[in-house]
Amino acid sequence: MDMTVSFAGLTLDNPIMTASGTFGYGVEYMRFGDLERLGALVVKGLSLAPRRGNPMPRIAETPAGMLNAIGLQNIGAREFVEKRLPSLPWSRTPVIANLYACAAEEFGDLAAYLAEQPGVAALEVNISCPNVSEGGILFGQDPRLAARVTEAVKRRAGAKPVMVKLTPNVTDIADMARAVQDAGADALSLINTLSGMAVDARTRRPRLANVIGGLSGPAIKPVALRCVWQVCRAVSIPVIGIGGIASAEDVLEFILVGATAVQVGTANFIRPDLAFRLVDELPALCAALGVDSWDTYRGSLKA
């Protein structure tokens, strides 16, 4: 079957992308597969200025998952554009920049800079970050703030598609999705990590220096499926499913509940060639399950 998917003006050879923060700047994975075989590549969250990130320890393994509090360590948008992007096969595989900022105007400036780079196909806005000017509440936890960031980015992004990445740490994710859609987002991606923590009963210490971190990996897949299902029923823009995807069957599950494409995150740490393997395995699984077109399979859950 034809594996191609199109959304928000992008055309992907297949629905498998990599999730921000789990695929470095792409170049780290060149030893493990041909990046051109991926549907698209989402790179590590970028901020205007480089960020040092959080103190160590920053990761803790949990049952079928992990907690991370990396703290958005990154080399900054300019360094990425000048030193990493030229090595990526951006003319053949869409490279999507993931944006991180602490204020709406800063998001706008970052969007303007990244959107004007020919090698950047689209923007993904990480709104799971504290809004410094409003007491640190997450942009992604307040529909009004989320809409404001979406507008700020859209206004400066020119013709580049804007995807907003939702956090599951809210009471009603469909509400957030509608607010962001109404503010002009071209697509949504979800979910970001679930807020969580791990402690050591013996040493009485938290396992992360930051105490609280984000849970990801196969353990969160049921939550992610539920969120994608709810959001797909609430909005009309395309939805990208993320959360615990580690097999070709997981990919189909997300498309079944309505996702147009997916992102593979923590599973890239299970083995670094995993995303490439899913690209290889997906056609055979589709054939085996009688899936013959994305348009008929997408959202066809018999619920």
Partner: protein
């Protein structure tokens, strides 16, 4: 042709080192050598490591585990020496010949080698693993000395093989006084290699801190191999960073695991 640096290999052999039981469980694991024609494996150097993830992990534990490459060639396969300390290593200890394991590597930088320079190898516990091949490769060209501190019996480690090739001495710690004596010994030996010799160390963090401090006090520096917890092993997740004085947080897996003691803050 494109060579994927992550391969499914099979277990050739798992050999217990030492008697096990209360002394701790130590093993040498030999995996198929994916090297034939693969230049990365033909060029590996001591100090580099591999990520290992047996199929038997399932989804839990989720991540692979990093181990120093103890040796790697057609004859022996890729060998790592490990100590059982938790869930992942317990599952490694249950492997049988023929079992499938995902392995990616060789990863990271390596220890420096300076033919002709007096070279001091300092190993703590299972941190001796990367020095097995180092001694093999460099004992003829360099004036090598290995000082090894350990708690479980000596036969838990691949020590005898090394002692046949270079000046190797082992110091067992059975009580706190032994530890003080060992640190005192380091305090005597390290300055002899400062500033002109080469000092390489691998072992637990407190041991590495001591080595770095003693080398610094003697006007020298040492190369330290760090064992930060890892997820990806390839510089993608930024979960394993150490603080570099000039460059800020650097991933240990990709920019290390070997760092000069005067360039990082431990």
């Amino acid at each position: 042709m494109f060579a994927n640096a992550c391969q499914d290999v099979t277990v050739r052999r798992l050999t217990r080192l030492g008697a096990g039981g209360a002394q701790g469980d130590f093993f040498e694991l030999a995996l198929d050598f994916p090297g034939a024609g693969d230049t990365a494996w033909a060029r590996w150097r001591p100090g580099q490591f591999v990520m290992i993830r047996p199929e038997s992990f399932g989804l839990d534990p989720l991540m692979g585990r990093p181990f120093s490459i103890a040796r790697a060639d057609e004859e022996h396969g890729v060998c790592v020496c490990f100590q059982v300390v938790g869930r992942g290593t317990a599952k490694l200890a249950a492997l049988e010949p023929g079992d499938r394991v995902a392995m990616w590597g060789p990863l990271g930088n390596a220890f420096a080698a300076r033919p002709g320079a007096p070279t001091l190898l300092l190993a703590g516990g299972i941190g001796i693993a990367p020095f097995l091949e180092y001694v093999k490769r460099h004992s003829s060209a360099a004036d090598l000395r290995l000082v090894f501190g350990h708690r479980p019996p000596l036969d838990c480690y691949p020590f005898a093989e090394m002692a046949a090739l270079a000046a190797c001495e082992a110091h067992r710690e059975t009580c706190p006084e032994d530890l003080h004596a060992f640190i005192a010994l380091l305090g005597e030996v390290i300055p002899q290699y400062c500033p002109d010799g080469l000092i390489l160390a691998c072992g637990p963090l407190p041991f590495l801190r001591t080595v770095g401090r003693l080398a610094g006090e003697a006007g020298g520096r040492a190369q330290l191999s760090l064992e930060n917890r890892m997820a990806c092993g390839i510089g993608a997740c930024l979960g394993c960073v150490t603080e570099h004085k000039e460059h800020g947080p650097l991933s240990v897996c990709a920019r290390g695991p070997v760092f000069w003691s005067d360039e990082i803050t431990l």
